[in-house]
């Protein structure tokens, strides 16, 4: 039944206000998937045209013409030239910005030559009105032979008329018929199109011509047809690029006079607000300064604003677990619920405040048009490392948490540059590493003042810098190894500054947060359940024995009730499956200076790095509410079998560096899997990061011990 729904494609240039219109049309009835076989996001949604006729609206990636330069633009073209494409539309809503009408007519006249039912949604009339410019949309409609409706994407004005127009077009089965009106195929193109239409199903000659233009990158033909197509192209001596340029010129020549006749006056190139803002914002000196101030503010707010909601979530779930623990019968189900499931869900939701704040700020910067300026300013430096101007935002966000940072790479259209950004972002020290470093740093360097600076603060800063340097070096290596699938272009439009559209901000936030909770969240939950099981269970008799031994020891040592409980927990963890795993990995981590207890902590902290602190506390029978100082003192007293201290300076530094480089975060891996749609990249990421960590820690420990 769902397949019988009519498909309406939403198409237009970038920055025309397409997502606003999409949100107006579909509201929250949206779904995000992928176009088959590629990593380009496919956004679609549902709407009722006349109150009862349901249709699917497909938000095709924005493009300037049917001659695409990036992967997502190609998706839009494929959906329009392949009659068997699952997204081949029954009708098109073309969104055009009246302040850039001339340029927006290029793609419109191209798609209208494909004989599809089209309605034009003319947007940004309010901005034109500010400059006292009006557009005679009825005249425009007559001249181009397509219905034109004025809309306001921000408040939804005109959207209902668009829906009714589409309804009418579908009922009448009325297609645009502008072939030869704006572009006349030359003799070679005409012949070639005729020949192609004999072997490939097409709508008309222009459709066939576009297939010839895209012959090299066409995914929907079998080899036999591709060869036949290539043969025809060579036979007719068809030069794609030259014909493209001729076509674009001819179209502009034919529709430019129309634009002049429908606008009350033309848009001047006088200094606008955008010029004034950019005079400061892209300034050689102030530009980077403003950028880093914004980033600093973003970084601060992620830390500062998220602490309260994060603690709140943490406490609420802990309270819930305690409450259930007290009121439910003590059995396996209760344990699973209170010790496995609830902390697991809490471990996912605790990231939500950070993700929300980060995306709120990023979406705002994107909405007002700032992001394109940042890309322009940093593109050159990032290029040297195989990254994109946009990567800088992800790298900086990685300082808070790699998960939202990796999700923010979606704005990078070049796949290679996006992939490299995803691969290196987790090397930037995230907030979860801080508790680990804070515990261990005291073993590396005592706290003293150097001038007004604190010695440990300096080491902290050095660790951040090492992380940044490592990310850049890794990018450079990936740049050399990976091969590019497409040209890397900048040629970026810097859109005029605009007030943020809060509805768009809301929908983007809603989509990103739910993608995290329901996408990556599933994997995080499963892994934390597994880790909980491993740390809570062991061979039954061993666990029983451990408890008994702990009780006897407690009686001998005359421990109070609380200390006894801690001792039991510690002995049980030692004998759990996680304990066995710790002993199992000990020979591997011994050269790094780690014993099997640290091994247990390494394993449990896969759920999240900060779990290291909790596990260490349990292992050494330190109460849960102990502060860092108590943990540190306890650890200092810890001796190994030969009576030497476990946590020496060499071990601590080796451990810090291990946490700095190693991919110790399942949540990040789950996100990388989600974003790259494969297990290959998270596996490579795990291997290269943990491999580096191993080598660095090995050298450090062997050199210092």
């Amino acid at each position: 039944m769902a397949d019988a729904l009519k498909k309406i494609a939403l198409l237009g240039n970038p920055n025309a206000g397409k997502s606003s219109l999409f949100n107006q049309l579909t509201g929250l009835r949206q779904k995000v998937g992928n176009f088959p076989g590629v990593t380009v996001e496919r956004k679609s949604g549902f709407t009722k045209l006349d109150g009862k006729t349901e249709v699917e609206i497909i938000d095709l990636p924005g493009t300037y013409s049917l001659y695409p330069t990036s992967l997502d633009e190609r998706i839009a073209v494929n959906a329009l030239i392949d009659l068997n494409n699952q997204d081949y539309p029954d009708a098109i809503i073309y969104i055009a910005d009246v302040t850039n009408l001339e340029r927006h007519l290029l793609l419109l006249t191209q798609i209208s030559d494909l004989n599809l039912p089209i309605v034009v949604a003319l947007n940004m009339n309010d901005i034109a009105a500010q400059q006292n410019i009006t557009c005679d949309e009825q005249k425009l409609s007559k001249e181009i032979g397509i219905d034109v409706i004025k809309i306001n994407g921000r408040n939804g004005e005109g959207v209902d008329i668009i829906k009714l127009k589409i309804m009418q077009l579908l009922n009448e089965n009325k297609s645009s018929n502008t072939a030869n009106h704006f572009y006349t195929l030359n003799e070679i193109e005409e012949n070639l199109a005729q020949e192609i239409s004999n072997i490939i199903p097409v709508r008309n000659n222009y459709n066939a011509l576009l297939i010839a233009h895209h012959a090299k990158k066409i995914g929907f033909l079998n080899d036999e047809k591709k060869n036949a197509l290539q043969h025809l192209i060579t036979e007719q001596k068809f030069n794609s690029l030259n014909n493209q340029l001729d076509e674009i010129m001819q179209r502009y020549q034919r529709f430019s006079p129309i634009v002049q006749s429908v606008l009350s006056k033309s848009f001047s190139n006088a200094k606008t607000l955008t010029d004034k803002i950019d005079f400061v914002v892209t300034n050689r000196f102030f530009g980077p300064l403003i950028f880093f101030s914004i980033m600093f503010f973003m970084f601060q707010s992620i830390f500062a604003w998220s602490t309260i909601p994060m603690d709140f979530i943490d406490e609420q779930f802990a309270a819930l677990a305690t409450f259930l623990h007290q009121h439910l019968p003590e059995n396996l189900f209760t344990k699973l619920l209170t010790e496995g499931l609830i902390p697991g869900v809490s471990g996912i939701l605790v990231f939500v405040p950070q993700i929300t704040i980060l995306f709120l700020l990023i979406t705002l910067l994107e909405e007002i048009g700032y992001m394109a300026r940042a890309v322009y300013m940093f593109d050159n430096i990032m290029q040297k490392f195989g990254l994109n101007g946009r990567s800088i935002v992800s790298l900086i966000s990685g300082g808070a948490c790699a998960i939202p940072a990796i999700m923010s790479t979606r704005t990078i259209s070049n796949w290679k540059e996006r992939l490299i950004t995803i691969m290196v972002t987790p090397l930037i020290s995230c907030s979860a590493r801080i508790p680990v470093f804070a515990i261990l740093i005291g073993f590396v360097v005592p706290s003293f003042k150097i001038g007004f600076l604190n010695s440990q603060g300096l080491v902290f800063m050095a660790l951040y810098l090492i992380g940044i340097a490592a990310a850049l070096i890794a990018s450079f290596v990936f740049k050399k190894i990976l091969k590019a699938e497409e040209f890397s272009f900048l040629m970026l439009e810097l859109p005029e500054y605009r007030k943020p559209h809060w509805k768009n901000v809301f929908y983007t936030l809603y989509e990103k947060v739910s993608a995290f909770v329901f996408g990556a969240g599933k994997v995080i939950l499963i892994v934390s359940l597994v880790l909980w099981f491993l740390a809570s269970y062991g061979p039954t008799h061993k666990m029983q024995e451990a408890e008994n031994v702990a009780k006897i020891e407690a009686t001998l040592l005359n421990l109070d009730q609380q200390q006894t409980a801690l001792r039991i927990a510690s002995k049980k963890l030692e004998n759990s499956y996680a304990g066995y795993a710790g002993r199992f990995v000990e020979p591997i981590i011994k050269p790094l200076g780690f014993d099997w207890k640290i091994g247990i902590a390494l394993i449990t902290s896969f759920a999240a790095r900060e779990v290291f602190v909790g596990t260490i506390s349990t292992l050494y029978s330190i109460g849960k509410d102990a502060n860092n100082l108590t943990i540190k003192q306890k650890l200092q007293q810890e001796k190994n079998a030969e009576g030497k201290p476990v946590f020496t300076m060499a071990v601590a530094l080796s451990l810090i560096l291990f946490y700095l480089f190693a991919m110790q975060c399942v949540s990040t891996l789950a996100t990388v899997h989600r974003e790259t749609k494969s297990w290959k990249w998270p596996v490579i990421q795990f291997l290269y990061m943990t491999g580096t960590a191993y080598v660095v820690s090995f050298i450090t420990y062997q050199f210092l011990k």
């Binding site: 013409s65 690029l241 340029l245 190139n269 892209t282 050689r284 980077p288 430096i381 040629m491």
Partner: protein, 77 residues
């Protein structure tokens, strides 16, 4: 016309007219973005760390890498 001046030869704030493009791919994309031969263009800024150019043509603002900017040939005035 005269020289082989391109966007990278412009002084800040200087205006010129696009005469042609010396690379088809750059031409196709920029023309689709509204930068046509015959259009007036002015250099607004160079990027803080070099390598990129910020130009304005009519009411279109576009950022280009230097290897892209080199392909936009200009005549004066």
């Amino acid at each position: 016309m005269s020289s082989n001046r391109n966007i990278t030869n412009l002084q800040l704030g200087e205006e010129a007219t696009i005469s042609e493009f010396s690379n088809g791919h750059v031409a196709s994309k920029l023309m689709a973005m509204g930068l046509l031969p015959g259009a007036g263009i002015s250099l607004i800024r160079k990027s803080p760390f070099g390598g990129a150019y910020y130009v304005k043509a009519k009411n279109h603002y576009v950022a280009l890498r230097s290897n892209e900017a080199e392909n936009v040939l200009l005549t004066n005035g």
